[in-house]
Symmetry: C2
Subunit: 549 residues, 2 copies
């Protein structure tokens, strides 16, 4: 309950901020086109603050939100009767002292002075946009693309941006920081161009090691152009001192260590959640996962060499060299220090991927490879490591890549209530399935985080009434239980079931579920694990086979 | 597929052994009352051996088994026309050289000479019964209590046991090795007397630490009577050398270490699986779990002191001092050596439980406490530790406490195909729930193995259409992620849902599910995780509340 309450409070504050914003914008009436009608707003402020008010507010909000949502809002459109404001004028308004904080969105000018203290993403972030356009930020932080955010924004509207300036900005927003991104294999299925996201076809995920060209790509920002000879890794000690290592240092001063590790995006198989109810996040089928043999220096060796111990250090933060120059956003993430410093966890500062220098898309020259941990913490192009008592304060550590239940949506989420995803739960996918005579032949992968190896994959063609145990790819006999960092491939042959009983919508549906060494298994139904970001989509995987007759 | 095939082969061999047994018993006809009719048997041997025959056999077996099963068989009953055999005569038949290996069961005498090589439990075990009664073994190894085992036995029948000897044996079998078991709290709900199994009422599982008197008891054998001053722990090195430690050594020579750890039986919540389809195993509600603060010597310290390293050592085996004198069975189990030797895993040779000497029922004077690992490996009354390259060959390590899917039953199980349960998957239970006005108030526990702490408990009163996040008991701020060994208590208050939509069978059903730090969550439905031993019963937990109107 505490976490939900926190979300409620936050939301109430957000709304209070909004009403203050209203009066600043010169609109003294509380009627308007916000998602909650004016009478509700008035009631909200007639009730004393605290849990009761928050609960009341949220229950109202829940009731009225879907209806209000039906009216589509296009923020930034020209509004008759508002004054015209030039970009030059906007740029002069960067603080209260300047007479208010203004921003633009498309053709709209907005005064966010009073709103900022209630900005769910914090004041610091929103202030980066002061005196300029919101677009670059909103394209980074997808949660803004919501009707109710549009509504809040339009309530802060103070004018129309001068037409010629609108055009200038639109052109500038379209200038391409991704122009230097590397060429990619045409075999990849592109899910997003800027930043680049792509996955291999499932049928090609049939070998222990994924070729570099086929390895899924999940970038958050443009690919940085780095020369190996110029590369420097900065390490910040707990007391603030810094050390620096070159690529040659990492390659030569530490014993090279190999580990075969699967990396998976938290959003792998997001398409399934999205088909149940819209989620926020790029589209992924089941291919946002790949496996490589990584070579590098053990992070534990590097930290040891630099004299960094667990004393006072709870987290090891990584910063990437990928950057958005407009928003000054750097990709960052952190992992618990005891994992970083445990040699058995085999965390690498990797410089090779399948025996080649790490390709540009995968982190050249150095990628943090954290076996058993979600892709988001396997930071590419690592430029800085910070030994800290705190987690990374990066957006992707704090306000993304976390799990919630299906009753939490963008209107009531409190990201601080959930821990950052580190080890991923057990998952499997059917990469191919076909009917051969009176048999069904299926194959796929299975994986679990935290080094939990796969001990069984069950396959069914009658929705779990009967299960066939799949044949698993041979395990490395040297691997310890709980230190299995690569995926397991599987194949199964099932007797074609009597169709009358098992056909769903004219199709035979083959389903897989994996069991890891902790005997955890995949949840049954996707709708019961739906979450607003579409992460951790690890329910039984299914493949529909159309029957001839 | 490979594991199923192995089970098939095994089973075919079992059947071949049975037919050889038939001819030994003087019955040259292949007709009989075995579960598979004679024509099937003949067909089985007309087919060449190997996978095809095995598959054919099993498919036949599957088809005919349920029908045959309907006829109830009472092994050991007097059979008209068979010769009378005295116990003295039976006792003379302990090997082939004695003219055959005979055993008794109730009033029956059986020749198992040819059968033993195909005994699924191995020859060594069954030979312990040679020349005597089967009853003590069958009461230990529950899988014999099956119609098809009775059928096999009766096919090996060669005579009736002399009436007076039958009575003598019955009395002997009833002599009570459990007479010295300690007194127990009347608050415990007894699930089995010999061996003693009992659980606390769920309503009393409401504190972080379970009082010793209330801690659930899962014994496999009689409680051994051990004087602390006489206690000796034998440690067998990899090269066969042995060391010995007294209780005083363990208490004084090693730094005492405390850990709060939950211990749970793999069969906790077995009642739910049993209600879907009969399983083999003692009845447990959700109380086969408790938490104590354990104090002892770190096993890693002890092994280090004795010079035992991971070199050549893959498993640390524990043997209990609990013993069945008739069957010479000793309780045993093992854990992976890297867990035993990792100080962070905090494996203890515990001599205190909640600041008191460990009570007799819980392992006095020494219990192996393996935080995050299933109760079966937390061996009580440890008398011997073996550093080995192999797992314990104990029945409970090899042929019990393993998980299978619901298509595996006693007729096709191959215990070697599944790993021994070590870390338990995430679980929760509702310990109490009540309706208060227009709210439902529920509380319970949640736990996950392997040190995975609980990050969220979801509670629903509408079968997962909406979820309330429970309030969790405060976490120890010093605990590292993945080193959380005690359970988490939770409480939740839900709005009473509109009854029309959510009432099932006149009841409001409250359900809980927990999420651990790896974001694994409990499976939805018990029928989809059913397994023949009724272990790992961790589906969403439910509590039905009868509605007044």
């Amino acid at each position: 309950m505490w976490s939900t309450n926190r979300a409620m409070f936050r939301h109430l504050r957000l709304m209070q901020g909004f009403t203050r914003g209203l009066s600043t914008s010169g609109n003294s009436s509380r009627t308007g086109n916000w998602v909650i009608g004016s009478s509700h707003l008035l009631k909200a402020f007639a009730i004393t603050s605290g849990a009761a008010a928050a609960a009341w507010y949220v229950s109202m909000h829940r009731t009225t939100y879907p209806a209000a949502c039906e009216a589509s809002i296009s923020p930034g459109e020209f509004v008759e009767g508002l004054k015209e404001i030039s970009l030059e004028e906007v740029q002069k308004h960067k603080s209260k002292a300047d007479g208010g904080i203004w921003v633009t969105y498309k053709g709209g000018v907005y005064d966010i002075t009073e709103f900022i203290e209630n900005h769910p993403g914090g004041q610091a972030k929103i202030l980066l946009a002061a005196g300029g356009p919101l677009e670059p930020f909103w394209s980074l932080y997808a949660q803004h693309q919501e009707e109710f955010v549009y509504s809040i924004l339009e309530e802060l509207r103070i004018g129309n941006l001068k037409a010629s300036d609108k055009e200038t900005l639109a052109q500038k927003n379209e200038s391409d920081p991704y122009a230097n991104d590397p060429a990619r294999s045409p075999l990849l299925t592109v899910r997003g161009h800027k930043p680049f996201n792509a996955e291999p076809p499932l049928e090609l995920l049939d070998s222990e090691i994924t070729p570099n060209d086929l390895f899924y790509v999940r970038n958050h920002l443009p690919v940085p152009k780095i020369e190996g000879k110029d590369y420097k890794l900065e390490i910040v000690h707990r007391d603030g001192r810094t050390s620096e290592l070159t690529l040659a240092d990492l390659e030569n001063k530490f014993k090279p260590h190999d580990v075969t590790a699967t990396i998976m995006c938290a959003g792998n198989r997001r398409n399934e959640m999205d088909s149940i109810k819209k989620v926020k996040g790029g589209y992924w089928d089941a291919g946002a996962i790949s496996t490589a043999r990584w070579t590098g220096a053990l992070l534990s060796d590097v930290l040891e060499e630099l004299g960094i111990t667990e004393e006072g250090v709870e987290h090891i933060q990584f910063e990437g060299l990928d950057k958005d120059s407009t928003t000054q956003t750097i990709y960052g993430a952190s992992i618990p220090a005891d994992i970083a410093m445990d040699k058995k966890c085999e965390v690498l500062l990797a410089y090779k991927m399948n025996d080649e220098p790490i390709p540009a898309d995968h982190g050249y020259p150095i990628r943090a490879v954290v076996p058993g941990v979600v892709g988001a913490r396997n930071v590419k192009w690592v430029g800085k490591i910070v030994a800290s008592d705190k987690e990374s304060d990066s957006h992707w550590q704090q306000n993304d890549y976390k799990g919630f239940n299906s009753s939490i949506d963008w209107h009531n989420v409190d990201f601080s209530a959930a821990p950052a995803i580190q080890e991923l739960p057990v998952i499997s996918a059917i990469c191919s399935a076909r009917i051969e005579g009176d048999e069904v032949v299926a194959q796929g992968y299975a994986y679990s985080g935290g080094g939990r190896g796969i001990i069984r994959v069950d396959v069914t063609a009658d929705n779990g009434n009967s299960w066939e145990v799949a044949e698993l790819s041979p395990a490395d006999p040297n691997q310890k239980r709980n230190r299995v960092y690569g995926w397991t491939l599987w194949s199964a042959t099932l007797k074609l079931p009597e169709c009358g009983k098992t056909v769903e919508d004219g199709c035979l549906v083959v389903r897989s579920r994996a069991v890891d060494s902790q005997y955890n298994l995949q949840p049954e139904n996707c709708d019961k694990i739906w979450n607003l970001r579409g992460v951790l989509s690890n329910s039984w995987h299914e493949k529909k086979l159309v029957l001839d007759n």
